[in-house]
């Protein structure tokens, strides 16, 4: 009988972390290759195609940056929540709430205000929308002990339906010939792009500044210290006099708010009007979970891992077209990588010893 013993690994060096990362990505790619094989596609060709589609051409690179913007913002916020062991699965709808709030501001106030005023206002509204939506599960968790995984996930559905209600109902645009879209944002409320691309650089700037500030907050500030203590041992946090309620509220306001920023960025930069929730959020809220995890919950690394996963999203689109694979391929790809990353983490933090023992009679 094979016996497996799991013990804590005592000293984990940076190079161990790095090696575990490389190995889990490699193992993940290997597993994905098997999936490609089963669907009758040469895995080497498909993987090469994914990365050449995203990083191999100027067009691909620009698209990759475009998709990295919301991922950086959302994943940055998630690192904070996850560090406090608040499992926020609801970034998807926090993004949508940000989009709804920001769009309302843009549609209603945009026609009367110049870009220099309306754009910051929209971002502010987006942040507030996401933050408010993120606060609800935080309050439910602390005041009523309701598991945040369930509540944040369920709130995604609520928000989805709410947004659908808005676009088919009261917010349906007069200029959209009966389609369930809102009217276009006024010109002053639309973000300008880097010419020849879809990169809305204002949001990119907001995103990079946000994660840098988050990084400083986590590692250098009192607030970040309290977040880490709460995540490591909530009982000790209470004992040490940390205000659990207040800190968790701030964490979720920032986490939801960052997703809200991504939401309004997507609308003002790319779509220009609200349409069905799936097309606005595009699953960024879920992908960002993996992005945050790949970054080891370090806000600074989020920029790199968001870029990597944005590349997979873009490359996934490319192989859908060139190899005729179904749209779910990218999700399988991402999910598989996440599973292997988490396994890598397990092997990094634990030491396994194997022992053969003869079977007793």
């Amino acid at each position: 009988m094979l016996k497996i013993k799991v013990t804590d690994r005592i000293d984990i060096l940076p190079r161990h972390s790095f090696l575990s990362l490389v190995f889990s990505l490699a193992a993940g790619l290997l597993a994905i290759s098997l999936i490609f094989l089963f669907s009758g596609v040469n895995p080497l060709y498909a993987i090469a195609k994914i990365f050449s589609g995203s990083f191999g051409s100027m067009y691909g690179l620009k698209e990759t940056v475009t998709k990295a913007i919301p991922l950086i913002l959302i994943a940055g916020g998630l690192t904070l929540a996850f560090r406090a062991k608040f499992w926020n699965i609801g970034a998807e709808s926090q993004l949508l709430m940000g989009a709804i709030f920001g769009t309302w501001v843009g549609l209603n106030w945009g026609p009367h205000l110049p870009a220099a005023i309306i754009v910051p206002l929209m971002f502010l509204a987006g942040f507030i929308g996401g933050a408010l939506w993120g606060l609800i599960p935080a309050i439910l968790k602390i005041k009523f002990s309701i598991n945040e995984v369930i509540s944040t996930l369920m709130m995604n559905y609520i928000c989805n339906e709410f947004m659908t209600l808005l676009i088919v109902g009261p917010w349906r645009g007069k200029t959209k010939f009966g389609f369930p879209y809102t009217d276009d944002l006024p010109l002053s409320a639309i973000l300008s792009l880097i010419p020849g691309s879809r990169i809305h650089y204002a949001t990119l700037l907001v995103a990079v500044v946000t994660v840098i500030m988050l990084g400083i907050a986590v590692y250098k500030t009192r607030f970040g210290y309290e977040v880490r203590v709460i995540g490591e041992n909530p009982d000790a946090a209470k004992y040490s006099g940390i205000d659990f309620f207040k800190t968790t509220l701030i964490i979720m306001a920032i986490s939801g708010g960052a997703a809200g920023l991504a939401g309004i960025g997507e609308v003002a930069g790319i779509h220009h009007y609200l349409s069905y929730p799936e097309s606005i959020s595009s699953g960024y809220g879920y992908t960002a979970i993996i992005v945050a995890w790949l970054a080891k919950l370090n806000p600074f690394y989020v920029i790199l891992s968001a870029f990597f996963f944005a590349g997979i999203l873009v490359g996934g689109d490319a192989i859908q077209i060139s190899l005729g694979l179904p749209a779910a391929t990218v999700q399988i790809f991402n999910g598989t990588l996440l599973v292997f990353l988490i396994m890598g983490d397990f092997f990094l933090k634990n030491q396994l010893t194997f022992q053969w023992r003869p079977k007793r009679n």
């Binding site: 016996k3 880490r228 041992n233 000790a236 209470k238 006099g241």
Partner: protein, 525 residues
């Protein structure tokens, strides 16, 4: 009461043994056992033998390898080499399931109970004779009959988290007996008991001994070993350094064997004048987790240069009282006046800043964030103070310096301040917590079970630190179940039972001889 005893625990054991074709354990030997963890030798060439009707003491400081050795016998660890023989026949114990089948039971120091389950659900875990359908009724009956025979007072329907440590230990013992244990391993069993309960436990053990059970008792308390054991084996750094029949040795000899030097059994305490009042607790009423009143109308005062002790079996409201004083639990009625200001129902941080420090019970659960570095934990309660941070940023340079000072001032053995706190031993974590709590020179230090489970060296060190606080003008509120500790350190002693003080006595009051009765609630002064 105990004349039913023999059948009581032989009936089930026989049944299990019949299934496995095993006889009752007459002798058990461990032979040349070696075990190492990541290169560190925990056990080296250990030989051990025990026969029916014998109580063997296993003595040694923390980290001497006692628990490792017993975990091997119980099947939790596999030895790197060596053999175990029962009745002369070599056996292999792959897991606790095996050891239970051979008739070996173990009561761990940290109880292995599912907190959210009931007593009977916990006992039924791993119980092989549970009926397949609707087991509850049968099991409850069985538990009740067992607890009646052994004079344990246990409600099988209660959830484990509602029980005191002493009660939880009784569940563990019943569980082992119901599983048919001939050989019972007890890991530091008395660390959670009062002297009265300890005596009861010892009586039970003697009964079991008379009926031919084998008992291995892990302890670092010399008195206990001498009182209850027939033979003693002394471990030091994973090796056997001495073996003796207890009738041939005395406390001093054993102590020397155990730590290789003489220890002072009396800590010197100079008399101090009691004049400046620090804290007044007035008719305090506090509700516990079960929403029942856990502290009922408790009043007392503590002065500068005083150690005020609260003795009693845990679960009698001590935890709730401490949490109320330190701001972790709401006070229903009553008042706490600290150096002239009212701190009733103030926040934990406010109370800490006013000058009440707290060494919590269950140090790893409350006292530290185990995954963070030592220097992070060195400022767990002070991180908001000016010297370590401004409104926004932490001054990590100063924090690391401070941590370094704590390590050297309080004898914390750690390679550097850059290690995760969970890698330290219990004693070193406790020294770190104590150092952190008294580094701000608080007027009152509340210490809950500060030496629970620590070895002799660390215990001595911590107790001396408490006396130092007393000498320097601080006041200490010491909650402990260890009477030796209470008598050694305290100027006045309150005895707590079911949320009330049964009396407050001076340390030299002759009436303290009845402390056991007061702890059991049968005497009130």
């Amino acid at each position: 009461m105990l004349n039913e005893g023999p059948e009581a625990h032989q009936r089930p054991s026989l049944k299990i043994k019949e299934i496995n074709g095993m006889k009752k354990i007459e002798t058990l030997e461990m032979f040349n056992i070696n075990k190492s963890f990541q290169g560190v030798k925990a056990n080296t060439d250990i030989k051990l033998s025990i026969g029916a009707g014998e109580i063997l003491g296993l003595l040694g400081e923390n980290g001497a390898g006692k628990t490792t050795l017993m975990n091997i016998l119980y099947g939790l660890y596999q030895p790197d080499s060596g053999a175990i023989r029962i009745n002369g026949q070599e056996i292999s114990i792959g897991s606790p399931v095996d050891s239970r089948r051979y008739g070996i039971g173990m009561v761990h120091q940290h109880f292995m109970l599912v907190q959210n389950h009931t007593v009977s659900e916990n006992i039924v875990l791993g119980y092989e004779m549970a009926p397949l359908l609707f087991p509850q009724h049968k099991i409850n009956e069985k538990i009740l009959s067992f607890s009646k025979r052994f004079h344990f007072d246990i409600d099988p329907q209660k959830k484990v988290w509602q029980l005191s440590a002493g009660e939880q230990q009784r569940i563990e013992i019943i569980k082992a007996l119901m599983n048919g244990a001939d050989l019972l391993i007890l890991d530091e069993p008395t660390s959670v008991l009062t002297s009265q309960e300890t005596n009861e436990l010892f009586q039970n053990l003697r009964e079991m001994q008379a009926q031919g059970h084998l008992i291995i008792l892990i302890s670092h308390k010399l008195d206990e070993i001498l009182e209850i054991c027939d033979r003693v084996t002394v471990l030091q750094k994973g090796r056997i350094v001495g073996e003796a029949a207890t009738k041939d040795v005395d406390k001093k000899t054993l102590a020397r064997m155990m730590i290789g030097r003489d220890i002072i059994f009396r800590i010197e305490k100079e008399p101090m004048e009691r004049k400046n009042k620090i804290i007044t607790v007035d008719s305090l009423v506090v509700r516990g987790d079960k929403d029942l009143r856990a502290v009922k109308n408790v009043s007392f005062e503590i002065f500068r240069n005083e150690i005020f002790g609260i003795a009693g079996v845990s679960g009698n409201g001590q935890r709730e009282l401490v949490e109320a004083i330190t701001g972790l639990r709401r006070i229903e009625s009553g008042k706490i006046i600290f150096e002239g200001t009212d701190i009733t129902n103030k926040s934990a941080r406010h109370i800490y800043n006013t000058g009440v420090a707290h060494v919590p019970e269950e140090r790893i659960r409350y006292g530290v964030a185990p995954g963070l570095y030592l220097y992070d934990n060195a400022i767990l309660k002070q991180h908001h103070k000016k010297k370590y941070s401004n409104k926004l940023f932490l001054a990590y340079n100063k924090i690391r310096q401070h941590a370094q000072h704590l390590l050297s001032d309080f004898n914390v053995l750690a390679p550097s301040v850059h290690v995760q706190t969970k890698n330290l031993s219990g004693g070193n974590i406790q020294k770190l917590i104590l150092g952190r709590e008294i580094s701000e020179n608080p007027s009152l230090l509340v210490a809950s079970h500060p030496t629970y489970g620590l070895d002799v060296g660390a215990t001595e060190y911590l107790r001396n630190q408490l006396l130092k606080r007393r000498k320097e003008g601080g006041a200490v509120l010491l909650v402990s179940e260890d009477l030796e500790e209470i008598f050694e350190l305290c100027d006045r002693i309150a005895i707590m039972f079911q949320g009330e003080f049964m009396g407050i006595l001076d340390a030299y009051d002759p009436r303290l001889k009845d402390i056991g009765l007061m702890m059991a609630g049968s005497l009130r002064l």
